[in-house]
Point group: C2
Chain length 117, copies 2
């Protein structure tokens, strides 16, 4: 999924390889667009996804206000652009293409998790 | 999730218990809002979800235009309100609350599928 249009939304934050960005179970009020590097998402000790440049992660806590469902760790050194809930809601309201892209990203995740294709 | 606002979108279709609504791997251009009854979604022979009144299913094929990821079978006699892609895209564009609700539904599915909470 292509979210490079969000890279100018805020100042990128720098993470070193191995840094924990958030942990499963924590409250969360930011999602992150990957500008550079790769982030590993894991749940219950199992890696469920690797997120690379121009894609995003952490959107679920903004959508349903539940605790983080996965732990995010910098797989390499990363630059991440954080986006807060207010901005996220404004993007969904004003940019249907953004809403559709987030849905596509989530559909990819669900398809990847299904027991078989 | 509450999608009762969509029940007047089209004429409900009636299904008998055991009827197959769609099969994994088929092309799909409709999603369905459940007016009455329950629908079972299964993937690779495993039931992944039961969908009841005022919720919806089948949205993934509308979002990413990929084949159905799951098979949907009427668990009981059902009334289902079909919604096509054009109407779905219009709803996302004109009703941010609808877009947010679909995202919440998908977030629920992802959380339910994660190896552990």
């Amino acid at each position: 999924m292509e979210f490079s249009m969000l890279l100018r939304e805020s100042e990128p934050q720098s993470y070193a390889q191995g840094d924990v960005i958030f942990r499963a179970g924590e409250d969360g009020d930011l999602m992150y667009v990957v500008q550079e590097g790769e982030v590993s998402l894991s749940s219950g000790g199992t890696e469920v996804e690797t997120v690379g440049p121009n894609s995003l992660f952490g959107e679920m806590a903004l959508i349903d206000d539940e605790p983080r469902s996965a732990t995010a760790v910098a797989r390499t050194a990363c630059l991440l652009v954080p986006i807060d809930r207010t901005r996220f809601e404004r993007l969904v309201g004003m940019t249907p293409r953004f809403a559709t892209s987030v849905m596509k990203l989530m559909a990819d995740r669900i398809r990847g998790m299904n027991p078989s294709p």
